[in-house]
């Protein structure tokens, strides 16, 4: 198996607080991996770190880019990380509120298109073709995620679950190799979560996109992920298949606390 993301000894300090402590993590091509841990364990900080929103204090991050080459992406700006093939969603939904559903996804296409000022003003054939490509591609992504009935709706008017899916759709429009999902099921009801399961599997199977997700819904994590990484206080305390994690003593301790009768 070739890896797509290699994180080695990643460390992030906020002043005297160590949010991430020598974390190692690998995501393979076409894999669905999950990152779990108690609240405040440093999961979202980890995402922010590898996507360039935070600068890591120490450690190395390697991403296998679209052209198949492994590149070090420490300290790259978020937009360049996205261009290299890693897209993300946000824990607190960050959709473009004044735009429609389709336009939100169209923004996602920004990194793979090129039209400039002159193209915008003169609307030459190439620009028109590109615009059409953007629209078609965005619509087909919405279809994959079964959001096409909302296409002209303003993003803010969507139900919560659909907004989460739209975030995924928008990230998919950047043509990622690896998709980082930050609590995609937060605030969803069980039926919606079920649908999300299928959706994530579909994205992986149809598009071959590897997925790394942060999630608190253990049912979802256990059902779809192939590898689970557990972090607590910024340290990795466990890694393995769902079965292994379920029976991992350290993980159980971190989640449920020390068993005083034991």
């Amino acid at each position: 198996m070739t890896s797509i993301l290699d994180v080695k000894n990643l460390t992030l300090d906020f002043g005297g607080l160590r949010a991430i402590d020598h974390l190692n993590l690998t995501v393979n091509k076409g894999e669905i991996a999950a990152l779990i841990g108690p609240n405040g364990a440093g999961k979202t900080s980890f995402f922010n770190c590898i996507t360039g929103i935070y600068k890591p204090t120490a450690g190395e991050i390697f991403l296998t880019c679209r052209n198949g080459e492994k590149e070090r992406i420490n300290g790259l700006k978020p937009n360049l990380v996205t261009r290299k093939g890693m897209a993300r969603t946000f824990q607190n939904i960050r959709l473009f509120s004044s735009m429609t559903v389709l336009e939100n996804v169209m923004i996602g296409c920004h990194s793979i298109t090129h039209a400039g000022i002159l193209g915008a003003v003169f609307k030459d054939a190439a620009t028109r073709k590109e615009e059409k490509y953007i629209v078609d591609k965005s619509y087909s992504i919405l279809k994959t995620l079964e959001l096409e009935r909302f296409v002209n709706e303003l993003a803010v008017n969507l139900p919560y679950g659909a907004q989460r899916l739209l975030e995924i759709a928008r990230a998919m429009a950047t043509d990622p190799q690896l998709l980082l999902l930050d609590e995609p099921a937060a605030g969803m009801n069980p039926t919606e979560t079920r649908r999300l399961d299928d959706m994530i599997l579909k994205i992986r199977d149809e598009k071959g996109i590897a997925i790394l997700l942060i999630e608190h819904d253990m049912k979802l994590v256990m059902r779809i992920s192939e590898t689970i990484h557990v972090v607590d206080y910024g340290k990795k305390i466990g890694e393995g298949t769902p079965e292994e994690i379920r029976n991992h003593p350290v993980v159980i301790k971190a989640y449920l606390g020390e068993d005083i009768h034991a």
């Binding site: 996507t51 929103i53 700006k77 978020p78 937009n79 996205t82 261009r83 897209a87 993300r88 946000f90 960050r94 959709l95 473009f96 509120s97 004044s98 735009m99 429609t100 389709l102 336009e103 169209m106 923004i107 996602g108 920004h110 990194s111 793979i112 298109t113 039209a115 400039g116 000022i117 193209g119 915008a120 003003v121 609307k123 620009t127 590109e130 615009e131 490509y133 953007i134 629209v135 078609d136 591609k137 619509y139 087909s140 992504i141 279809k143 296409v151 002209n152 303003l154 928008r170 990230a171 429009a173 950047t174 043509d175």
Partner: protein, 407 residues
């Protein structure tokens, strides 16, 4: 009489009494220094009271009505003006009529009127340019007049030293505006909101102070005179013909501006601006280069100011730093805010009203500032979105438009 009305009247009465008390020292007491007596002008107090009572009542009535209207508006979604603007059968003939009016204008009215119209249209252009920066990209720029100055001085100086004509300098002025836009934009990339406003305000003042003090370069406060008007194939035109010619040039430039900004709004770049305004972090996570997008907004906004400056220098034939004070920046920003941020029609109406009204109401010149302030306060209370609020034209997807592609 029902209770709410009575209640409102009571509130207005209290306001009137409070006002009478507040203005007592200045409105009622008058010291006569010659006879060393005090005149008690109780009549004034009565006028103040009655005036305050009625104004307060009107104010309350308007606020009530606004609340009601807002509820109705939320149900319908759009106001009447916006609906009219969207109806093609109305908007196309209206545009044509407006164009015809613009063409015959200098022949119908005097040269004085034409001159006033030229300066109003220059402000329309400036407003539209600033609208890119403020309305679309959401970057509050208070030093916009600096780019206007750059354009004006570019024409004046290039003409003085190298004898370059209007048509050569027009694109140069636009280009220089863009360059200065990037120069200003680069250091303020990290700033937003209030901080950005303060830095841009400083930048505007810096340019003006440089122009005022660098005598060898800009001739200081004395300014530059005898700037020629544009020429038409070397014909020797009379002054009025030259003015009319300049009028047509600015009309064309405004049309050009509207066309370009319209296209930009609907493009990949325009979408990136709006996304940037909505959420910077998400925008970057989508692969949009924040720095590049902001610089593009600054540069494209400043381009129009630069060209506007060239036209301004040609129109007035004399420029000095006094024409480029912070006050101009504020007026331009007011035209954008009062007209309707992001709305092209709104900004045009705003600029025309804010520039033309003071011109025609010159007799009331002493009340200009107070009216200006009052109008802005009223606008913010009753129409915070501007005269013609922007309804962003969203991309409307029609089913069957796509031929499914699989990426």
């Amino acid at each position: 009489m029902n209770m709410p009305v009575l209640n409102e009247i009571k509130k207005s009465l209290i306001a009137a009494i409070w006002f009478m008390f507040l203005t007592f020292p200045i409105m009622v007491i008058k010291v006569n220094t010659i006879t060393r007596t005090i005149d008690w002008r109780w009549k004034n107090m009565m006028y103040t009271g009655i005036g305050a009572f009625f104004l307060s009542a009107v104010w309350r009535y308007m606020l009530r009505r606004k609340e009601k209207n807002q509820n109705a508006l939320e149900k319908e979604g759009l106001s009447i003006v916006q609906k009219i603007l969207q109806v093609k059968t109305f908007s196309i003939p209206a545009t044509v009529l407006l164009l015809i009016f613009a063409i015959v204008f200098p022949h119908l009215f005097s040269m004085h009127q034409t001159n006033i119209m030229i300066s109003a249209l220059i402000y329309v252009m400036l407003g539209l340019g600033l609208n890119i920066v403020v309305g679309l990209a959401g970057l509050l720029d208070l030093g916009y007049v600096a780019f206007f100055a750059v354009g004006a001085y570019a024409y004046a100086l290039l003409n003085l030293h190298f004898g370059l004509g209007f048509w050569t300098v027009l694109p140069v002025g636009g280009f220089l505006g863009a360059v200065f836009g990037i120069l200003l934009g680069y250091p303020v990339l990290r700033l937003r909101g209030d901080y950005l406003a303060i830095v841009t305000l400083g930048f505007g003042e810096i340019i003006r102070i440089i122009l005022e003090n660098w005598n060898e370069f800009s001739f200081g406060p004395a300014g530059i005179a005898n700037i020629p008007k544009p020429e038409l194939f070397g014909l020797d035109l009379s002054l009025s013909a030259k003015t009319i010619y300049l009028y047509y040039i600015i009309v064309l430039l405004v049309i050009f501006t509207v066309f370009v900004i319209n296209r930009l709004t609907d493009s990949r770049i325009g979408r990136a601006w709006i996304a940037l305004k909505d959420d910077e972090i998400a925008c970057q996570a989508m692969g949009i280069d924040k720095a590049k997008t902001k610089l593009r907004a600054f540069a494209l906004g400043a381009t129009w100011a630069g060209m506007g400056g060239v036209v301004f220098a040609a129109k007035t034939a004399f420029i000095n730093p006094a024409s480029f004070t912070i006050w101009e920046s504020v007026i331009i920003l007011c035209t954008v805010v009062a007209g309707g941020m992001g709305s092209i029609v709104g900004v045009i109406c705003g600029a025309l009203l804010l520039i033309l009204l003071p011109e025609y109401l010159r007799d009331f010149g002493q009340f200009r500032m107070i009216t200006f302030g009052a109008v802005l306060v009223l606008m913010m209370v009753f129409r915070p979105g501007g005269m013609i609020e922007n309804v962003r034209r969203t991309y409307q997807f029609k089913t069957g438009e796509t031929n499914d592609i699989h990426s």
